[in-house]
Symmetry: C2
DNA sequence: TTTAAACATGAAACTTGATTCATGTTTCAA
DNA sequence: TTGAAACATGAATCAAGTTTCATGTTTAAA
């Protein structure tokens, strides 16, 4: 049993393929129309299976939604990790990570929406998603302070500030408005993040 | 007709009172259990009226929800405006506004949740809520730059950064965790907002 | 005082979907 | 090869929950 896999684990190749088709279909349906607007029938239709098949792999509509939230977390983290690997300066790593996040949000609007909506469908999954991010941020900031790369300060507050800031810039300039290049958003955001507002 | 009032406008004192009771009940029910988990019957029961009465004043469940979102916007803005009136320095006004926002979120968890959930129930209402806030922020930042109170920079990006940052700090330290005093959150957040991360 | 418009009622009509289940079909270890 | 476990089917079931409506009661302007 992989601890990261929710729902019933299939035992045959056919089963594995079917469950994967369901998850992919759910991602598209939940992502584009939302949890409540999307029906199980939409998911199974898109996956090309019968309604009953859904319940072989998932106990409920909510269960597959939860799986999608943690799936999103893993995808986001691995995408960003890959983009910033090898960068020595923490500030530069944050900057490239931020840019990667904006790009990821643009390319994965469905998953972005799923995470946001989990606040109202599966609050514990939502909290867990952000707990992992906040911990990672805080640890990185602590290390950066020790290395003298950034000023000392309350890194828990900073971590949540950076999360909120990234999330809303991602929503406004990544999802709603598409025209500003990720590079430009990143430069402007990091002028603020690095130097603050003071003259 | 007041342009800020949605739904059917009552013509008698009794009607005005009944509609107000419905709105207050909806605030509590939607706020504590969410849009989809709450039924019209919950709202009318709490308001002490019959189900049919609801439809005298609102065309649908969604309509009263929308009214609640704009209601929340007005309440938040007037609360903050009142707290920062008379402050000369824009940076200090932002700081006191931020603190007021954290306190407001703590005292109005229901309304906070309603605004968040509107992203999935009435996206246009959600966007409008933030558009108004973002415009106000941006205007204030522009004035502050002209007065030399803050550095020049991309104030639209800054405005959305501050919105995201406030929202997530409000969620994490205002709604989820209650122990940290608003003053302490504010000091830590503004050390970051004013000076940034650089050494 | 009237009386037409407003307001109020709550049971019933209607929709909408999630979930079940009785009945097959495939897979794959032995 | 075989048969027990896995997997698949989709119509039927069942539980919500929103909205309507036929029937009263109250309000307030004239």
């Amino acid at each position: 049993m992989q601890p990261t896999s929710e729902g019933k684990t299939p035992k045959t190749k056919r089963g594995i393929k079917t469950k994967a088709k369901l998850l992919e279909a759910a991602e598209i349906e939940f992502g584009s129309r939302g949890f409540h607007e999307c029906m199980i029938a939409d998911i199974t239709r898109r996956a090309g299976v019968a309604m009953g098949t859904f319940y072989i792999y998932y106990e409920s509509k909510e269960e597959i939604f939860r799986e999608l939230v943690s799936h999103m977390g893993r995808l986001t983290r691995s995408y960003i990790a890959q983009k910033i690997s090898g960068i020595e300066s923490r500030l530069e790593a944050e900057k490239q990570g931020f840019k990667a996040y904006i790009e990821f949000a643009r390319e994965n609007k469905n998953l972005y929406r799923i995470v946001m909506e989990s606040q109202f469908v599966a609050l514990d999954a939502f909290k867990e998603y952000y707990r992992v991010f906040a911990n990672a941020y805080e640890t990185n900031l602590n290390v950066a302070v020790e290395k003298g790369q950034i000023r000392a300060g309350n890194n828990e507050i900073r971590a949540w500030s950076l999360i909120g800031l990234s999330t809303y810039l991602g929503l406004k300039f990544g999802i709603w408005d598409e025209q500003m290049p990720a590079q430009e958003i990143t430069e402007a955001a990091f002028d603020f993040i690095e130097n603050g507002l003071k003259p």
